[in-house]
Structure formats: C-alpha cells, structure tokens
Amino acid sequence: MNAVELIKFSTCYGHKNVLKNVNVGFNSGSITAIMGPSGCGKTTLLRSINRTAEMEAGFKCEGDIRVLGQSINEVKNVSSVRRQVGMVYQTPVVLPMSIKENVLFGPRYYGAQGRLQMDAIVEDCLRKVALWDEVKDRLKQPASQLSGGQKQRLAMARVLAVEPRVLLLDEPCSSLDPASTGLIEELLMRLAEDLSIIIVTHNLFQARRIADETVFMLDGQVVEKGSTDHIFTSPRHEKTRGFISGLFG
C-alpha cells in the first residue's frame, strides 16, 4: 500500500515551474530515498507533502497528493496534515527551551496533560531516538547545549512526539559527523517498521545502506524509481546512469 502518493502533481513559485507532472508513490513501512542534482525539486517535493511549501510567496500547485489514502488538499485543517507528516530539516534546529520542553512542544499544543503522561511521552520518544541514556539526567537543561548529532536526534524525537505516520527527512545528516550519521541511520531503520520514511540524500552510500527503494529526480520530474540495488547496479534510464556514474566519479 502506498503511504504517500503524488498524482499528476506540479508546482510553481511565481513563474518558475519547479515540479512537473510528478507521479510517484511511496510504500508504507519502508524507507525510500530521493536523489538528484541540486535544484531538481527534491526539497519542494517534501515540502509539498507536509504542506509547508505553500507558505512561500507565489506558490501554486496542481494535481493531488494523497497521504494514507486521503488527499491533503481536501482536508479541512492543514495542521492535521502537518502532524501526520513529520519533517526533519537539514540543519538541526532545537527550540530555545529545555530538552524536555522541546519534545513536549507539540504534545502540549495538542492537549497533553498530567505529569505522568508527559514524562512518559518524553522518555518514550527519547528512547526511540537513542537519546534517553545520554540526556536523562539533564532533561531540564537548555537544548542548545547539545551536539549537532544530538540536536538532530532531538528534532526527530520532537517530531515523533506528535505521532506522525510519515516521516520526511531533508538531508538530515549532511552537517553531521560519521558517528552521528550512523546512529541516525540505525534509528531510521528501526522506525521504518512503523512509519513510512522518505529521505532526501546526496549520499549514495547512505541510500544503499538504508533505503529499500530509491527515486531519481531530474529537473522537476521523476525519472526512475525502483529498488535501491536495482537503481544503482542496473538503472534503466540513461539519465539515471549518468547521475550514478557521476557520483562514483
């Protein structure tokens, strides 16, 4: 079953056509990588799925995106889309509050109450991102004191706290060291059992390590999609081959 599906989806910012008639589906319970050269529309794709792309001036779109079978444009409340589709950005961003409050930021808004319940949420989410042991003694300290890798994991815990069904990641490890990258890749593979994960990455080794399927994009269009092994060893499309061999260099 497709967790996320784009149907004849196009977007433009002002006069610039960014995504052109994209038709692609992302499986549930698996990790799909999106690769492509800069400017091919990967980030716009992600942002369209959680409906943050429309916050930029001049945004227009055509076509449909379905998350878990439901069209995201027909939904009454944008907020519910964003809650179901969590996003982790390239630069690790922590809110200017304590570690605990970072995790509880979403839950508090949605009505979580009671000391016990909230403490449980914090522990649960921090354990899922393998951060619990590292920070359990300093939950009330400012999150800004964490390292880059820890901040990114905290960002993921924050997203997990609102119980999304889909997780989008935009080059989440590009500013992290290999050790942190490894940790995050491990955790993504664990999370993939319950979530559908879509990850934009420049790192083809990363894609081979963790992604079940890979989508190759060029110039606002999806060129090819298939199992990761297949894409890298015997891509069907000329352009895909060109891109992959360019990466090997």
Partner: protein, 299 residues
C-alpha cells in the same frame, strides 16, 4: 494521543482576526488625523483659498478683516530646515565616513552609544541651551540687541539632526558590498580617495535618504526653534533675520485662539500644510529607498 481538537482551529482564527483588526485600526489613525484636521480647517480652504493662504505675507488673526497668509512661516520653516541641513550634512557625512572607514576598533563601538544619547536629549533642552548659551554668545560677541535668528535655529537643529544623519549614512556605507573595497585596495588608491570616490557614490541613495528624512524632522521641530528663532511674523529676508516657522506658530497661538473661530481654523490649515509637507517628504524617501533596493541588485 488525542484526536485533533477542532476548537484549536477556531481559536486561532479568532486570534488572527484580533491581530489584523488592531493593525488596520491603528494605521487608520493617520488617515483619521488627516481627515479631522482637513475638516477643522476647511473654511480656510474654501473661504480664503489655498493660493492666498500659502502666498499671503500678512498674518493678522485679530485685525478686521483678519488676514491669513503663511508665506513668512513657510519660508522660515524651509530656511531653518534647509540651513540646518547645510550645516549638518558635511559634518554628518564626515562622521559617518569616519565611523565606517577610518575609526580604529574601539571607537565606533564607543561613538555609537554617544550618537544614541544625543538623540535621547529632548528638543527642549537643545532649545534651552541654544537660547541660554548660543544666543547670549551672539549678543555679546556681535553686540546685538537680540541674538535670536533663523541662523541660530539652524545651528541648533543641525546639532539635533546630526546624529540621525550620521547613523543612517554609516549604515548605508557599511552595507556597500565588500567587493568594492577590495577592488579599490587592489588598485592601490588611498583610503580617503576610495571613501570619497567609490563608497560614497555607491551609498549615495541611502545617504540622500538620510538627508531627506532629516530635513523632514527639521521642518517639524517645534521647541528648539521656538526658543531661538525670534518668533516674529514678518517675512525674513536673510538667514540672520528672525522668523517663525510653522510649528512655532501653531504652538504659540493655539492656546489663545477661540475654538471654532477663523483664527483657530487657520491654525489647523497651517498644521495641515505642515503635515502634508512632511508626509510628502517621507513618501518620497520610501519610494526612493524602494528603488535603492532594486538599484543595488543591478550592480
């Protein structure tokens, strides 16, 4: 966890409506003020007529028939503000160039608070010092019966608008792209030459904007000119004559005018002229700065 709470959505809509309404209402205040003043002064415009009002040289509210011409005040306003600009511009620019290019490290950080504090000193204190010190000095040094003049007012205003010109011009100079400095240094020209011939022309629009804004402030200043300009209703013929700029006119005569009388209405007309002049200047600056943003990109 819980399902989506529909109440949250409604609450947010209410909150954003409050913000929008507050913003709209507040900004309508300006229009409200303009309309109100226009209404209070309407009889002047319809009876005396704009041309006569603006160009008439006699202001005699209590004679019969009363005469309302604000040409002397208009001229005084322009002269005082223009003169202030003449004195303050070179100094302000010089100081800005100093701060942006020549001042060694600790000085700019020290001088910026100084500029800030100068703007914090109330205009009445400037007027007071101008009257108590500067005027007395003129009287003693040049053996005058009365040292008040448009020139004295220009001097005081110049000091008042100086920090303003300096900060804005310095900001404009600092925002010039570093490539130009590097290019200049690569050519081997002196810092002074580069500052004057390269950076200033590039920051030209921002600096002009600063001047124009300062001019607007000088036109609208009341207390400083009230205390040193001399306050006579006669047409000034030289910078060293006395005069009465529009703000001073309004401040001095409003209290003693009878509400609803033609004198009262004339003061409102004078206020309208003043506010229109200043707003026109501000609008001009906004448009100019908008083109500035586009202009820099072309470089």
């Amino acid at each position: 966890m819980q399902k989506m709470n529909p109440g949250l959505e409604l609450k947010e809509k209410i909150i954003s409506t409050i913000f929008i309404s507050a913003a709209v209402l507040s900004s309508l205040l300006l229009l409200g003020m303009l309309l109100f003043i226009l209404r209070e002064s309407w009889p002047i415009w319809s009876q005396v007529g704009a041309m006569d009002f603006l160009s008439g040289t006699a202001w005699r509210p209590v004679s019969t028939p009363p005469q309302f011409g604000i040409a002397p005040m208009l001229i005084s306003t322009m002269w005082v503000a223009g003169g202030a600009l003449l004195i303050a511009a070179p100094l302000g620019f010089g100081c800005a160039i100093f701060l942006a290019e020549f001042a060694p490290a600790p000085l700019p950080a020290m001088l910026r608070p100084v500029l800030n504090m100068l703007t914090g000193i109330p205009s009445v204190v400037y007027g007071f010092l101008g009257a108590a010190v500067l005027i007395k000095f003129f009287e003693l040094r040049f053996d005058l019966a009365s040292g008040e003049s448009l020139f004295a007012a220009s001097l005081i205003l110049a000091i008042m608008i100086l920090p303003f010109i300096t900060s804005n011009s310095e900001a404009a100079l600092r925002s010039v792209a570093p490539e130009y400095r590097q290019a200049g240094m690569a050519l081997g020209v002196s810092r002074e030459y580069m500052a004057l011939r390269v950076l200033v022309p590039l920051a030209r629009r921002g600096m002009m904007g600063a001047l124009v804004l300062a001019f607007g402030r000088a036109m609208g200043e009341t207390m400083a000119v009230l205390m040193v300009a001399g306050n006579t209703l006669m047409l000034p013929f030289s910078w060293f004559n006395k005069g009465e700029p529009l703000p001073a006119l309004i401040a001095l005569e409003l209290g003693s005018s009878i509400p609803g009388s033609i004198h009262y209405q004339a003061l409102f007309a004078a206020g309208l002229v003043l506010i229109v002049m200043v707003i026109a200047v501000n609008f001009g600056v906004n448009i100019l700065l908008r083109r500035l943003k586009g202009g820099v990109k072309q470089f």
